[in-house]
């Protein structure tokens, strides 16, 4: 009862925090896609860079999220307290699934199709954009889907460095030992994640027509 009445009394704040959270995730995801997909396409053409790029992206994933936020604070330009630092950290987290799936998708094409493309006189760039990329799209999107769900969760921790969002309720709830406050952050975050998973899953299935 207390939780419900808390939700009812603070629905405007919860909604505002949810939108705040969503904005943080969407901006981070757009940047991560704009970096991850072209980088994935680039390392297909330059196999020497593959290990380095995937290695660096993996290292960021292994750093505990709270520590990563902490590490970024003292760094000039991208660091400090607030949304900018949080966005950088979220981008670094989202990068690996996007980069890895882009690479796997682009290299996992039926070899007879690639042989035909080469034999017909397509250039490497034409093969990349007209054959590899469209055929890899469903796999790339699966990576974006994974990254989005991770980012929605990790973004709650961004409140620790003053980035706002649903994490604000959770941290305050932990400090005040209030289940209602924790749930006010956790439930909308979980619903966002489920919704994103569902919608991106729908899109992914529509792309898998071949």
């Amino acid at each position: 009862m207390t939780t419900w009445s808390f939700f009812a009394d603070h629905r405007a704040e919860i909604l505002a925090a949810t939108l705040d959270h969503l904005a943080l995730v969407v901006i981070a995801m757009i940047i991560a896609i704009l970096i991850g997909v072209p980088l994935g396409m680039f390392i297909v053409q330059r196999p020497a860079l593959r290990t380095i790029a995937l290695g660096i992206a993996s290292i960021f994933q292994t750093i505990p999220s709270l520590a990563l936020f902490g590490f970024l604070i003292p760094i000039p330009y991208i660091g400090g307290i607030g949304k900018r630092t949080a966005t950088v950290a979220l981008v670094l987290y989202a990068l690996l699934p996007i980069l890895r799936n882009t690479y796997v998708g682009l290299t996992g094409i039926d070899p007879t199709v690639l042989e035909a493309a080469e034999a017909m006189g397509m250039t490497r760039t034409q093969i990349l954009f007209r054959v590899r990329f469209p055929l890899a799209l469903a796999v790339i999107l699966a990576g974006i889907r994974t990254a989005t769900i991770i980012t929605i969760g990790v973004a709650t921790i961004a409140a620790a460095i003053g980035a706002g969002g649903l994490g604000t309720f959770i941290f305050r709830g932990v400090a005040l030992v209030s289940d209602a406050l924790i749930l006010a952050g956790a439930i909308p975050a979980a619903l966002l994640a489920l919704l994103a998973d569902f919608l991106l899953g729908l899109l992914e299935r529509r792309l898998k027509v071949y």
Binding site: T112, E115, A116, A119, M120, G121
Partner: protein, 260 residues
């Protein structure tokens, strides 16, 4: 055309002392000592067991592989001197599983090389319809389908249509009918045999099936472990005494009950 080209058809492809090695520590030779002339209009069948180097020879002709030793001349120019992209756009290529682009429609698959050569859309569309009719598929019914909506035989017909779309003088075919059921295979072999005679293209056809070779070839070249061991017209081929030839002709005789 002048008299000279009619009397003595010019050679389209020529191998001069060609070897190809895999670039590893052992430097194993895949093919070696290959010298071969393929005149214009010939249907040359490269016959041999798996691993005898047939596909390697084919890939040497369109510059997908470059020779370790010797030279291959296509229309009097070495494959190392050709721009590989231009060379390949002038050579049709058909492979076993057709290798159609699954995300393209039949029409887009067939129209690919013309579009790469920046033909006008209307010219490409007319050519696509013409090619579909040529391989026995009704344009209205098939041009908007995707490869997964075709049977194996239909896919292979589209593969042939795609290879012919930009009207290349040379056609390379790597076991194009190998994955089809026997009935469809025989059907396509017969149709293609007639088509090949009509088109007058220079065709190099790879197979391990002697029956197919006898049906299609104007000349059969037999490969064994990377070497040419026999070269003859289909009629003469059956009379050769080379043990590898005997091995292939024996393969015809072991199942006399099988339909021709």
């Amino acid at each position: 055309m002048n008299m000279k080209t009619q009397l003595c058809p010019k050679k389209m492809i020529e191998f001069r002392g060609v070897s190809f090695h895999i670039n590893d520590i052992l430097a194993r030779a895949i093919v070696s000592g290959i010298s071969l002339e393929i005149p214009q209009g010939e249907t040359l069948v490269l016959l041999g067991r798996s691993g005898s180097g047939k596909t390697t020879l084919l890939k040497l002709m369109n510059g997908m592989l470059l020779p370790t030793k010797g030279e291959i001349f296509v229309q009097d120019r070495s494959t190392t001197a050709w721009d590989p992209i231009r060379l390949r756009r002038g050579i049709g290529y058909v492979i076993q599983d057709a290798g159609l682009f699954p995300h393209f429609t039949v029409a887009e698959n067939i129209g690919l090389v013309p579009s790469l050569k920046s033909w006008e859309a209307s010219r490409t569309a007319a050519r696509v319809d013409e090619m579909l009719q040529l391989v026995g598929l009704a344009p209205r019914e098939f041009s908007h389908r995707r490869p997964r909506e075709l049977s194996g035989g239909q896919r292979q017909r589209v593969g042939v249509a795609r290879a012919l779309a930009a009207d290349p003088p040379i056609l390379l075919m790597d076991e194009p009918f190998g994955a089809l059921d026997p009935v469809t295979r025989t059907e396509l072999q017969r149709e293609f045999s007639a088509l090949a005679r009509r088109l007058g293209k220079t065709i190099v056809f790879v197979t391990h099936d002697l029956r197919e070779a006898l049906l299609l070839a104007s000349r059969i070249v037999l490969l064994e472990a990377g070497h040419i061991v026999a070269s003859a017209t289909p009629q003469d081929f059956l009379r050769l005494e080379h043990p590898e030839v005997r091995a292939f002709t024996a393969s015809l005789a072991v199942n006399p009950g099988a339909p021709a």
